[in-house]
């Protein structure tokens, strides 16, 4: 269909299909995406909806799971299950946006430094060194003392810190590919540098970039979870799996109310694992060592 027969991607696709873990990972990831998209339909309540105790004026906090509240209620009386579903949207959106930003920046910088080398290379690699040494956590904590970090600040923070691994990867690949005969041949055919980068180099380094995107997504999810858990990520009332885990900071909740923190923990673990399986599967599909 989309993939040309007998092309590199055709063979890769067939190899991927044979890898059971990768296929399972793909289905799980797709399932999560579908659930996230359909959250408004699947969710019984609004995520910010507060519930009151029967006939009283008090919030129904920490209620155990029941038929009305499949996963009980949290510290403010909101339905945990609904928050979980909407949280999926938020977590995944943050992760995917951050990964897109880091991939685009990293790829462009990697291509340019790898291909042109010398001063540009030296300059950007020093920037990479600076960015890597930068403590994201402190940055976000500092920002949060001034204002509540909006969701876009969180996305930018994660994205702007993660592009370095992509850049290094792309640069390494460009260096490897640059000396191959078909690049010299393209030069001999009269192709311009831009044409060579886009038509010859980029298609041949796409495979490792794709694998890196999966890893980056998983890492972004975990980063969001950590940041939100510490209170400097996604802010209330917006639900995210990370800030749902924040409740677990209270010993009482941790010990006696597992329905509040186990679900977000488990789904995070599951999704990250599924994405890693897909990433491994892609890596093996693109580069089989027979």
């Amino acid at each position: 269909m989309l993939i040309k027969k007998n092309s590199f991607y055709d063979y890769a696709y067939r190899r991927f299909r044979r890898n059971k873990l990768a296929v399972i990972g793909t289905f799980i990831t797709l399932a999560f995406i579908v659930v996230a998209l359909l959250a408004p339909i699947l969710s019984p309540y609004e995520p910010s909806e507060f519930f009151f105790m029967e006939g009283q004026n008090l919030y129904n906090k920490y209620d155990t799971p029941s038929l009305q509240h499949l996963l009980g209620t949290d510290s403010l009386g909101r339905d945990v299950f609904s928050r979980l579903l909407y949280g999926a949207r938020v977590t995944m959106m943050v992760a995917l946006s951050a990964v897109s930003i880091s991939t685009i920046i990293g790829t462009i910088i990697g291509l340019v430094t790898g291909y042109f080398g010398r001063f540009i290379d030296a300059f950007f690699m020093r920037i990479v060194d600076i960015v890597i040494s930068f403590p994201v956590l402190f940055l976000l904590i500092s920002i949060s003392t001034i204002m509540d970090p909006s969701i876009w600040i969180v996305i930018l923070a994660i994205g702007l810190v993660s592009w370095t691994s992509t850049a290094r990867l792309v640069r390494g690949e460009v260096l490897r590919v640059k000396e191959l005969d078909y690049i010299v041949a393209a030069n001999a055919c009269g192709s311009s540098s831009l044409k060579i980068i886009i038509k010859h180099i980029l298609p041949n380094i796409l495979a490792p970039i794709m694998v890196q995107v999966t890893i980056g997504t998983a890492q972004a999810i975990l980063m969001e979870a950590s940041l939100s858990f510490l209170g400097v990520g996604v802010q209330q009332p917006t639900p995210s799996w990370g800030n749902m885990l924040m409740d677990a900071q209270k010993l009482l909740v941790l010990r006696d109310m597992p329905w509040i923190w186990i679900p977000p923990g488990v789904v995070t673990l599951l999704l990250v694992l599924a994405i890693y399986f897909v990433g491994d599967g892609l890596r093996d599909a693109f580069d089989p060592k027979q």
Binding site: S7, Y182, A185, A186, A188, C189, G190, H200, P203, N204
Partner: protein, 337 residues
């Protein structure tokens, strides 16, 4: 054939700097191509032959400015191209093309054959529409003995010989005048080699091409070339018409090289001559004549003075002190094998 040679090379140098040094004398260079001079006439095939470190591949790439020369001049169609800018060189690519040694690595594995062969057309024939380009690609593929269906397939689906045909098709796409073939048949099976050699001969006739044929295989070079240039450690040892080179080789290295080749006949197996010694590392080239460390007839001056190319016969030049001394070469004739 017109009188002006198509390609004139004068004292071409390509030196690679290995170690920089504050003192110029201490800088270490690899003289991959050193003082190479020769001409190529239109319509002929000049064979370039030599062993490792002789610089033949570096020479090919430097001629096309795929590598920058460090000295000397190159004239193509009468114009001095060694100081052309990158843009001027780009426009020259239409008329000078290069066929790489390994057909597989010189094709982008992610591109279809159609895209690969049409790339030069896209760059230089902007007047052609994409249908016209596709038709031209089909024409080229058929010219090299492949069917037009090959267009939609990928390089890995083809055998070595077929891949070689594809890169040849790409090389002739723009109707170049000069084609540099770098070890174009070396990686092929014997039975396929002959097919490609025949193809190259056929194309030369049909398209009035001029070839620079680089190879380490003397037999193939002899078959396909009109004249042959022998290189050793980046320098020219001898240039002569093919038949003359084999009938009457003057340079001791050429004689040793030809002597080392198997006769291909079990009855003549004892005729194979052994040339002792190792090929020197280009970083440690011998002083004087580069061949002096292994030459069976070298004398003291050979280790001090590097001989220049002198005429030793009709259309025949060689760089050897023995040959440029008319008296000594007379007395030494008896000793030359």
């Amino acid at each position: 054939m017109p009188d002006t040679p198509l390609l004139v090379v004068e004292n071409l140098n390509k030196h690679f700097l290995l170690h920089k040094s504050m003192k110029k004398e201490h800088a270490v260079y690899v003289k991959a191509v050193n003082n190479v001079s020769f001409t190529v006439n239109e319509g002929e095939t000049l064979g370039i032959v030599g062993e490792s470190g002789c610089g033949k591949s570096t020479l090919g790439r430097t001629l096309l400015r795929l590598l920058e020369p460090t000295g000397g001049e190159v004239y193509f169609e009468g114009k001095r191209i060694s100081d052309y800018t990158t843009n001027e060189m780009r426009s020259l690519r239409e008329r000078m093309q290069y066929i790489f040694q390994d057909p597989y690595s010189s094709m982008n594995p992610k591109m279809t054959i159609r895209d690969i062969v049409s790339e030069p057309l896209e760059n230089f024939r902007k007047d052609m529409s994409s249908e016209q380009r596709e038709e031209r690609v089909a024409e080229l593929l058929e010219l090299v003995g492949l069917s037009r269906e090959a267009m939609t397939r990928y390089p890995h689906e083809f055998s070595g010989g077929q891949r070689q045909r594809i890169v040849i098709a790409r090389g002739i796409a723009l109707n170049p005048r000069l084609l540099i073939c770098d070890e174009s048949v070396s990686a092929l099976d014997v039975s396929v080699q002959a097919q490609i050699i025949n193809l190259l001969q056929e194309l030369k006739q049909k398209l009035s091409l001029t070839y620079l044929f680089i190879s380490h295989d003397l037999r193939v070079v002899k078959f396909i070339s009109d004249r042959i240039m022998v290189l050793y450690l980046g320098e020219v040892m001898e240039i002569a018409p093919s038949s003359t080179l084999f009938a009457d080789p003057k340079h001791p290295y050429t004689r040793s090289l030809i002597g080392s080749i198997s006769k291909g006949d079990p009855r003549h197996r004892d005729e194979r001559k052994i040339l002792e010694g190792e090929i020197p590392n280009p970083m440690n080239a011998p002083k004087g004549c580069p061949f002096s460390s292994r030459c069976p007839v070298a004398f003291e001056r050979c280790h001090i003075e590097n001989p220049t190319l002198r005429t030793v016969g009709k259309d025949h030049v060689a760089a050897c002190l023995l040959l440029s001394q008319p008296m000594q070469s007379d007395t030494k004739t008896g000793e030359n094998e």
